[in-house]
Each structure stands twice: as structure tokens, then as C-alpha cells.
Symmetry: C2
Subunit: 356 residues, 2 copies
């Protein structure tokens, strides 16, 4: 098969981890007779520097013509003082909206070999295997009005949390679909005792549930969910929630593994190209040193192979290779206290290629 | 001194833990020659049952005439199917607004004797001592419009996140004041890369900070804060944040102790009576059995003595008594796996009184 992949290296360690990904993809292409064609484009800080905008039209068009998008990371202190609408993140938010990437998937799994890194006790995290399905194009992130009103002490700032039934239904359906192919359990997270949007959310979940009689589903308040993720993360299989709650809970959930450098994400639309990216940031402190952990990006490639290309053999092979490399004791600097044993980005990437 | 205390036992285990509190307060009154007068009133489910509304006018007037309010807990499955505006929580939200309780304090500390109960590893939680200062009367909880628009698939639900400079300034000032009497460090949590209200929040924090040159303060994004609370809670001293973020983060933070039955809270206004309550819920499953842990409520009494009455000797004595009882190995059922050793609510209360 032939696939066009848009590569957006972005800022900080983004280019380094993306290089690892293209190398591994090329290898998989050779092994399984696929043609992966890469088109590079700018997003975030690098785009601001080159063309004054975090999401150039050219980048958007490259993405729209692709079969899938791989993103490294965006942002860094260099652009932190720019006004809100000219910052690197704005490029990412714009891309989500333009590609209609309404479903953000963040799986949280524990690699046995890395369980020690978790701040949580062993018996709490053993066997954790959950995925957060976060709504990504609605809610407080995009609602209007969002503005200042008045001046001085009386000045107000307003954001709007708005969801339509349609928006809720499509993400909730994704949640149920994932529950179906996974553990069969769905937890819908809201704040229905306070928010009108959460009450609508809950109604829609109850309606959609009629179509999935085999899925065990329940509602949980977001404050309780924030507790339960720490108390007993194993109780969760699929969590579905709105944009802002998903932002907070998925970062919390990712930290229970202790290894941010390992976790991938996918952002999917109904039928256009999906976007795949590691959940870690641009890590400006280690950028350009060749020491970044490429495994979260390679896991994002696993998700690309699975969800964008339906290449399950290829995906399984890569997932296994990553696991094997860890089991064999290979570590990048973020995963070990023994600096003398730490592999570079390139060495780690080559280990994965060997394991393939 | 003579103090009028409004007691709102509420639902579930509320009456039992409030009984413990009045007993201990009476004892302290005897010891230190104070007169604590208790006036009981209904709030939440019990008020709905008796008078059809979760916050009767009578209750509000009792609270307004008091020097401090003690609340047990509200809510339970019995009232969960009522429409939103008739539910027990609505009574609590109404009380917060009516008494202008804009500053919610939730200290999170680890009792050495109970550190084992934490889901987090020992070296992560040892020495944790933070307080979350949550804005309690603004933001998404009270913003207008909050409504449905349209019908069918196109129906929208809208909530509004609104803050004025004034509202932000008074809570941020509280944050700095607490930092001053505590560790000297303040973390302000927002989502300034997305929300207009957070950008205003950040501006106000930077302004108020000018008045507190000795306080080390920083801004943190809410998703990062949710991670950092798990990764390294010891880094925090005072956290100040808006209503919804505070709801989520304070529940998350409370779980890192593993002992919800221990944690108190205070909700303060500018100069009216404050409200003091345990952070645990009404625990309907164990209600009426006399086994509830009274210590979170007694710690809330410590906060009442401190913040409402400025009785610091009395507060210190009670805090010490609670600690001594735990050090001596006394446990209620929620704190031990050995059911045969579990004290009843009354026995635990008497232990605290003895230790006083
Ligand atoms: C960079 C930021 C706007 C973004 C978000 O809040 O969605 C990030 O935190 C994420 O989760 O991808
Ligand atoms: C009961 C509910 C409305 C309340 C809140 O969200 O504020 C509770 O979770 C709390 O934190 O006191």
C-alpha cells in the first residue's frame, strides 16, 4: 500500500523524535512492502519564526492531502511571551478544528519493565490499562463569546462552554465503540450536579447506551474521577469526557505511569486524516542533544498504523519491538538514573529497528 | 468568649460527625471558659424531605446570625433523581453564594501514622503539606447564561465561565496572605493558553504579586498541575485557583493522602461567618451505624477555632489531640483493615476528648 504521511516536526525535541519515526516507518515499509511518503511542514514556533503564523496555509493543505499526520511537539519559552492568538499552541488548536479531530485517544498502559518509575505503589498500578477518549473540538476551548467586557476593577473575562447534542453524540459513540473492542466498560465523566452542558452530556450518554446493551457503562463526576484515577486506576477501561476535563484527567492519568516519555496519542476525525503525536512536550532543555526518548512517538506510529492504515500486523510488530527493547533493559536518559547506560535517540531507535 | 455556631448536620453520616464536633466543642468551651451555643438547622436532603427545598430560609437566617457554620455532609442516592435545581447540592451552592463564601481552603497534610494508606509511594508523600485556596462563588458554577438552546440534534447546552477582576483579586490576595503565614510560596493554576478568563486571572496575579515581594510565586497550567500533584506533591505550598479547577485538583490532592476521612475544609467570606466541613461525603452506606470517622469534622473544628474565632491555643490543643490519638494507634473502621480493632464514632470522639 501507498500512504502519504504529513510530518510536522514542530519545536524542541520534535524534529528528533520525528526523525526516529520516519526511520522506523521506512523500515516497516520495506518489511511489509508499503510505500510511506513523507511530506514535511511547519507548525508551532518554527512556523511563527519562518512565516509569522503558527499554522501556515501550506501546512494545513499538506495535512488535508495526507492519509495521516505525525506531529512532534510544539511550543517553548521563546514564544511564551507572544499574545495568545499568535502562540504555538494556537497552531495545534487550529489544526484540530480544521481537520475536525474531535476524538482524542490517550491510552495509559504500564510497561512491566518501567513500573518502578511510577509515583504510585506497585499494587495500585499493576495491570493498569485504560484509554481516555477526550472530546477535542468543542466546549470551553472553542465556545463563543470569549472576550473581555468593561474596564478597570469591573472588567469581566468570559469563556463559553457549549456543546450540541450532535457533538456529544459522536464522541460518546466513539467511547462505546472503543469499549466494545476493549474491556467492555465505559465511564462517562461529567459535572452534571453543576453544569447544564454536563446534564445534556449525561442524557446523550444514556440514549447512545441503548445501542450498546453489552457495554457496562456508568457516570462519574469529574472531581471523583480525579480521585479515583489515583486511588484505583485499574477500575477504568474506557473513559469518555469533554474537552477540558479530558485535558486535566488525561495528564493526571499519564503521570500515574511515571513515564511520560512513553505515552502516545491519536486525534481522529470522522473520515479525514488523523493526527498522531507523543503526549510529552517539546522539552526545550534537552532539544538538539540527541537524547530524547523516541518511544512515545514510535507508540504514536503504532496508533497510526492501527487507526489510520488498519495495518494491524505492522502495528503489533512495532508494539512488540518497543516492549522487547524495554524488557532487554535498554533505556534513554529519562528512564534511568544510571547516565552511563543511557542510549541516545538514535541508539534507541536502532534497537527498535533491530527488534523488528 | 461567647460564640454562636450554626450546626447543619445534613445527610448520611452528617449528624453523627456533627454530634462528635459539638461534644468536643463543649469540652473545649469548659476547658477554656468559652460559651459555644449551637443552633441546629436543616440543609440538603433532610431539608428537601421536611420542607421541599434544600436551603430553607430559616436555615439561611440561622447561618447569617451565627459566628460560624459547621456542616456535616449533604446528598445521597435518595435525592439523586430529583431535577438539578431541587437537589441537595443546590442547597450547598446556594449557601456559598448567600454567605459570599468565596475562599475555600483545603489543607492536605500527611499524618505520619497514616502514611501507609496513601496510594503514592512513601518517598513521594513524606512531608506533603499544602493548601488549596479555591475560588468558590464564581466561574462556571454561577456564570450566566446557563441554558439549553434549540431542540433535537441541534440542541445546545451552554454554561458560562465568567470572572471579574474584583473576584479574582480578592481570592488571589487570600492566596498570597496564606503563603505569607505558611511556606512563602504560591502557585497560581490556570489555563491561560486557552481561556480568556485565565489570561485575566494571570494578569491579576502578576499585579497583586507586587504587594507581596517576599512571596515566591509562579503560574502553572491546570493540566500540568494535575500531573505535578501526583508526581511530586511536596513541591507545593499554597495553590490558588478558580472554582472548577479547584474542585478537581482539591479532590485529587486529597486522595494522595489515602485518608479522605481525615481532611477538613473551610469556606470563608470577607467578614461574615465562615463555613467549616469535612471534605468527605455523606457516606450513605455506613450512615446511622455509629462507625463514621469523626476526625475530618474535628479537624474542621480546628479550622473554625483558628479562622472564625482566632482561638489559636484551643485550635493547637485540638490538632495535637487528634495527632496523639492517631499516634497511639486508635483507628476508626475506614483507617484499619483489622475490623476487631476499629473504634466507633463515639469511642474515637472520647479518645480525642481524653487526649485534650
Ligand atoms: C497545548 C494545549 C492547548 C493542549 C490542550 O490543552 O489541549 C495540550 O495541553 C494538550 O492536551 O494537547
Ligand atoms: C457537591 C458539589 C456541588 C461540590 C462542588 O463541586 O463544589 C463538591 O464537589 C465540593 O467540592 O464541595
Amino acid at each position: 500500500m501507498k500512504k502519504h504521511i504529513a510530518i510536522l516536526p514542530g519545536d524542541g525535541i520534535g524534529p528528533e523524535v520525528c526523525e526516529a519515526a520516519t526511520k522506523v516507518l521506512s523500515e516497516i515499509g520495506k518489511m511489509y512492502q508499503h510505500q510511506f511518503e513523507f511530506t514535511f511542514a511547519d507548525l508551532g514556533g518554527v512556523a511563527i519564526d519562518k512565516s509569522g503564523t503558527p499554522l501556515p496555509a501550506e501546512t494545513l493543505s499538506v495535512c488535508k492531502q495526507s492519509d495521516a499526520v505525525l506531529l512532534g511537539a510544539v511550543g517553548g519559552p521563546k514564544w511564551d511571551t507572544l499574545p495568545g492568538d499568535q502562540r504555538p499552541e494556537k497552531g495545534l488548536l487550529g489544526l484540530r478544528k480544521e481537520l475536525d479531530l474531535f476524538a482524542n485517544l490517550r491510552p495509559v498502559t504500564i510497561y512491566d519493565a518501567l513500573a518502578d518509575a511510577s509515583p504510585l505503589k506497585d499494587d495500585i498500578i499493576q495491570g493498569v490499562d485504560l484509554v481516555i477518549v477526550r472530546e477535542l473540538t468543542g466546549g470551553l476551548y472553542f465556545g463563543e463569546p470569549r472576550e473581555r467586557r468593561g474596564e478597570g476593577k469591573e472588567q469581566l473575562a468570559v469563556d463559553t462552554l457549549v456543546y450540541s447534542r450532535k457533538e456529544i453524540e459522536r464522541i460518546v459513540r466513539k467511547g462505546f465503540e472503543f469499549a466494545k473492542i476493549r474491556g467492555g466498560t465505559l465511564t462517562s465523566v461529567d459535572k452534571a450536579n453543576v453544569l447544564e452542558s454536563s446534564r445534556l452530556w449525561r442524557e446523550v450518554v444514556d440514549e447512545v447506551a441503548q445501542d450498546y446493551p453489552d457495554i457496562e457503562y456508568s457516570h462519574m463526576l469529574v472531581d471523583n474521577a480525579a480521585m479515583q484515577l489515583v486511588r484505583n486506576p485499574r477500575q477504568f477501561d474506557v473513559i469518555v469526557t469533554e474537552n477540558m476535563f479530558g485535558d486535566i484527567l488525561s495528564d493526571e492519568a499519564s503521570m500515574i505511569t511515571g513515564s511520560l516519555g512513553m505515552l502516545p496519542s491519536a486525534s481522529l476525525s470522522q473520515d479525514g486524516p488523523g493526527l498522531f503525536e507523543p503526549i510529552h512536550g517539546s522539552a526545550p532543555d534537552i532539544a538538539g542533544k540527541g537524547v530524547a526518548n523516541p518511544l512515545a512517538t514510535l507508540s504514536s506510529v503504532v496508533m497510526m498504523l492501527t487507526y489510520a492504515f488498519e495495518m494491524t500486523d505492522e502495528a503489533d510488530a512495532l508494539a512488540e519491538a518497543i516492549n522487547d527493547v524495554l524488557e532487554a533493559g535498554h533505556r534513554t536518559a529519562d528512564l534511568t538514573n544510571d547516565a552511563s547506560k543511557a542510549l541516545s535517540t538514535e541508539e534507541m531507535t536502532n534497537q527498535v529497528i533491530d527488534a523488528l
